[in-house]
């Protein structure tokens, strides 16, 4: 009898792990257990479907459960695994024991819930499951006012989406500027302006005190340090927390983020058990400190590595440099690794190189300003982070900078990089080049100042 692999979880990591394992070892019997009815859809697209930029939720589905069955996977949908017995090599689901030889945990995350009065009221919405999102979308038709709580990127996306949908949107966050856990104030400012342009009332430095309910048990207002904000719905967008209940129950090592510890092969502390996605922590390439709650693309890549290794291959996953980016209203912000604030918090010495360029030739219609801020090590001027904002091309630049940062590029390298000049798609001077050149000039000026005349 061939080996049986059980994958728990049908999100990005679980889907990737199961399909890659089957592809790498077609003889292996691969079974997926998911508590949800759907697979292979894009949860990241949900805010844009609410905002009608994506016309139908159906567009978010990339494949069907049947398709995976046809590919030879055993799909156990709406089947929650309640117990794992590592000694007997079984999982329990629907009171039935299922044997396995190898196991991959992709149990994902759950949202942090606010610890304030009224947090259990009806009408508090968390963005996760697509079926719930489709129901919520119908409810939105009869809603007029929404309060978005929490300054992570999903909150910004949801605020923009609900404003586009015509709701009166209040956005509250305790931080001193928008997305203060992620970006620096100079990058946050245009992002906030873009939200305000859509009509979102952004209230930074505002503390959530509680939720007030109506006689029907639904939220009717959000109580804050800036007063009571009446609403039909409150959308909670706090931190992602790893869903480790199964992992803890079998004694897997958890790390300093509270997520499952894995090595570079996605192996957990138990033999024959791998894990991937939002349930694990992986090291940041700069500090080697473990971090968790990354993006869908990280989950997918980790799932691929776990699946390949469970199928007998030998693949490794690198420490992460985290290219990121998203839309705030009609404006794009992005970056990789760290910005000024995080460097300051960690106590990492840094120098800043800033520049502004254009996304196309200056004279070409649609050219947009591209703001680049590079963070580099003093002395070596090696790139350790970046934050960008502007119009088109931000995502590609962030991907590029994360890659060259990981490979050790310096401001000197970037100042003299080659670039494409083609009026509709790129200007003569690449904005990254401009920032690096400015950074070098500033360093030289400082050196001259430091040398006594």
């Amino acid at each position: 009898m061939s080996e049986r692999l059980i994958v728990i979880g049908g999100g990005g990591a679980g889907t990737a792990a199961s399909t890659i394992a089957k592809r790498a070892n077609p003889d292996m019997r691969v079974a997926v257990f998911s508590e949800f009815p759907d697979i292979a859809y894009s949860p990241c697209g949900i805010p844009y479907a609410h905002g009608r930029e994506i016309p139908e939720f159906q567009n978010l589905f990339l494949s069907t459960v049947q398709r995976y069955v046809e590919d030879g996977l055993e799909m156990n949908m709406e089947t929650t695994v309640t117990d794992i017995d590592l000694d007997r090599r079984t999982v329990t689901a629907r009171n039935k024991h299922e044997g396995f030889d190898k196991l991959i945990l992709c149990t994902g995350f759950h949202w942090e819930q606010p610890a304030v009065p009224g947090a259990n009221l009806e009408g508090l919405h968390y963005v996760k499951d697509i079926r719930r999102a489709i129901e919520f979308d119908k409810e939105l038709d009869s809603m007029k006012r929404a309060v978005i709580i929490g300054g992570m990127w999903l909150g910004v996306e949801m605020a923009g989406a609900l404003a586009r949908r015509g709701l009166e949107v209040q956005f509250i966050d305790e931080g001193p500027w928008l997305l203060s856990e992620l970006v620096d104030p100079d990058v946050a400012e245009p992002a906030q302006e873009a939200l305000e342009k859509l009509g979102v009332n952004v209230r930074m430095g505002t503390k959530l005190l509680g939720f007030a309910g109506g006689p029907d048990g639904r939220v009717r207002a959000v109580s804050t340090s800036a007063g009571e904000l009446e609403c039909d719905v409150a959308v909670i967008c706090l931190h992602k927390l790893p869903n480790t209940s199964l992992a803890s129950s079998i004694g897997l090592s958890l790390g300093t983020t509270g997520a499952v510890v894995v090595d570079d092969h996605m192996r957990t502390s138990a033999p024959g058990v791998w894990a991937a996605g939002d349930v694990i922590e992986v090291p940041h390439g700069l500090s080697m400190l473990p971090i968790s709650g990354l993006t869908g693309s990280h989950a997918y890549s980790q799932g691929r590595v776990a699946g390949a290794n469970a199928a007998g291959e030998n693949r490794t996953y690198d420490p992460v440099w985290i290219p990121w980016g998203f839309m705030s209203g009609d404006y794009t912000i992005g970056g990789f690794s760290i910005g000024e604030t995080l460097a300051e918090a960690m106590g990492i010495p840094y120098v800043v190189a800033k520049g502004v360029g254009v996304s196309r030739a200056r004279y070409f219609p649609g050219a947009a300003r591209t703001h680049v801020k590079l963070i580099a090590e003093p002395g070596t001027l090696r790139l350790i982070g970046a934050q960008l904002h502007g119009g088109e091309g931000i995502k590609e630049r962030c991907d590029f900078l994360a890659f060259v940062g990981k490979r050790g590029a310096t401001l000197e390298d970037l100042a003299w990089m080659e670039n494409i000049y083609s009026p509709p798609i790129g200007a003569l001077y690449e904005p990254i080049q401009i920032a690096a050149q400015n950074g070098l000039a500033e360093q030289k000026a400082r050196q001259r100042e430091a040398v006594p005349a």
Binding site: P176, S253, V261, V282, P283, S287, M288, P319, E377
Partner: protein, 111 residues
């Protein structure tokens, strides 16, 4: 102390120290961009953390802090060490160079 209790303490230590260091950094960065920020409503930790821990942490050079975190096993275990240390010029990652397989195709690695 049981390993689980020790791990839980490490988690709490990390969460709390990250929070106070981030708060202190936000205050400093906000001073640089006064027109773009508002007073934070995030909760402040007690005086020990603000008046003792943050200034002490800031006095210690990053490389010393990194080594200490590694020794305390706060950094990721089971992962190859970085190919270079802080401040050191870039060099190729350690380890065996990629070998071209007999069929001449390009070897694949990573995800």
């Amino acid at each position: 102390m049981r390993p689980q209790a020790f791990d839980e303490r490490k988690r709490r230590l990390r969460a709390r120290s990250e929070h106070v260091l981030r708060m202190a950094a936000m205050d400093d960065v906000a001073r640089r961009y006064p027109s773009r920020t508002v007073p934070s409503a995030l909760s402040h930790e007690g005086p020990f953390w603000r008046l003792v821990f943050v200034p002490l942490y800031r006095r210690v050079p990053w490389e010393v802090k990194r080594n200490a975190m590694r020794k305390l096993k706060m950094t990721a275990q089971g992962w190859p060490e970085q190919s270079r240390t802080f401040g050191e010029p870039w060099r190729p990652p350690a380890g065996e160079p990629l070998k071209r397989p007999a069929n001449g195709s390009t070897p694949r690695s990573g995800a």
